[in-house]
Amino acid sequence: MTVAATGTYTTTIGLEIHVELNTASKMFCGCAVAFGGEPNTRTCPVCLGLPGSLPVANEKAVEYTIKIGLALHCDIVGASLFHRKNYFYPDMPKNYQISQYEFPIASGGWLEISNGATRRIGITRVHLEEDTGKSVHAGGSGRIADSEYSLEDFNRAGTPLVEIVTEPDIRSAEEARAFVAELRAILESLGVSDVRMEEGSLRVDANVSVRAEGETEHGAKVEVKNMNSIRSVGRALEFEETRQRRALDAGETLVQETRHFDERSGSTSSLRTKEYAFDYRYFAEPDLVPFEPSEAWVDSIASTMPELPAARRARFASEFGLGDSDIEVLTASPAVADWFEQAATAYGGDAKKIVNWIIADLFGLLNEAGIELPASKVAPSALAELVRLIDSGAISGKQAKLVLGEMFTTGGEPGAIAAAKGLRQESDAGAIEAVVDEVIAANPEAADKVRAGQQSTIGFLVGQVMKKTRGQANPALASELLRNKLS
């Protein structure tokens, strides 16, 4: 689908990301925040926009927004204000959204992404607003365009929503993907959102424009919507980038429009809406008084900030001596990183061994079982113990894999499992020496080759020792004895 374009172009991408906060109650009323459920069972006079109802801001939502602002290196404003954004839509109970305009809670920050080179993407603003309800389009294909009528559920209406707007600093679909992945990891480690894109708790819109190299002014801005996973952010924007380049190659002029990404076809298509200038008639929300976070409060929020992914990656490198690829895998999810860190600390030795067991073995088992690492029966300390058994030579690496399989299903202790399965490794020099003597006696030619300096043959003799001990001899010890006796 994505044929490389011939001309050289610059791509400019800006993202607008909406994050649903996971507070207990809604932004301006006490209704519970949750996903799904029976329609219209989590509403009240306030979030249904009944006459006479008034909003009162959720302190936790403000705190979370400040947290996000701090994590994105923003300035937290001294005085913030809510504004009314006026437009009619049936999923919006008051037909205005309580949002922020001139005075967002946080602004002027940045986020570093490392995708090959490290690049700093500017954060224009982070503001707090309320989510809308949900429409179900009935009749036709279920798509809004050809539906006969719609049904409104206001359970989601009033859910605290943080809007994060980036500067147009992103230069490729891959950078956009990396940005969203990094932001998602940050939000997850802050614990302020479920960040489930498929459930809509993290929603990404992008403005993409392409212009020929040297061309000074920006190309037509195209807004891309409906990217429901980090992967689809990459796919959608790569498609759009290429589409625009090819169009320019073909000498076409691009129009400012909104395009919808289709997961199945992996392509974007124009929504063909009348592009008419919106006039939101913003004005200060008279039902809510100004908001001035005290320095003391902002400081106390800052002091509760967890270690963010970037800092943790740096520490994994310095503290555990891990390489970039391992670190990337481990820190993709804070939960996995936590698990690894517990195991590595419990182990105390070379953390690389722990990493290998997680990535090479545990992940495989998790995939088969279709569960996440934190949900597995294997405790971090148990994995540490398993690796220690190998180090001490009590069991072989081969045996350890069998033990791990058992640990994964039963959650048992590695030592106990090995014993029960009769899995042990002979590491008593005396016992092995006897077998070594038998093997040398039984294989004189091989022994001579080794005496003649053909070290490679030792492998064969070790194999014979293992055979005689039914795999229980410590192979390292066996080859050491053979070498001594045949030198």
Binding site: P45, L81, S150
Partner: protein, 97 residues
């Protein structure tokens, strides 16, 4: 300071008011009369005077993040002009005319 018919039409669309032709005509006259009167504030020197949105000097009024009982689905839909499957039913959604 008058207001022309095109502006009346634009504003009526923003406000979602399906006004009849003569309503628009009357609206144009009346709004013009009222605007002529209120335009007197244009003559005031307001440099350096901050706008007032709130007269109460309150700040940081917030509620704790606590869940309180919601209305039942029946209560929520009790006044609905049209409902279906526990939801409010509305005609086909189209972009603003």
């Amino acid at each position: 300071m008058g207001i022309d018919r095109a502006t009346v039409d634009h504003v009526a669309r923003l406000a979602r008011l399906d006004l009849s032709a003569d309503e628009r005509g009357r609206m144009q006259e009346e709004l013009t009369t009222i605007l002529d009167h209120v335009t007197r504030i244009q003559s005031l020197d307001l440099d350096g005077i901050e706008p007032t949105a709130h007269t109460v000097p309150l700040r940081n009024i917030m509620r704790p993040d606590e869940v309180v009982p919601s209305l039942t689905q029946e209560e929520a839909l009790a006044n609905a002009p049209a409902a279906e499957d526990g939801r409010f039913r509305v005609p086909r959604i189209v972009e603003d005319a």
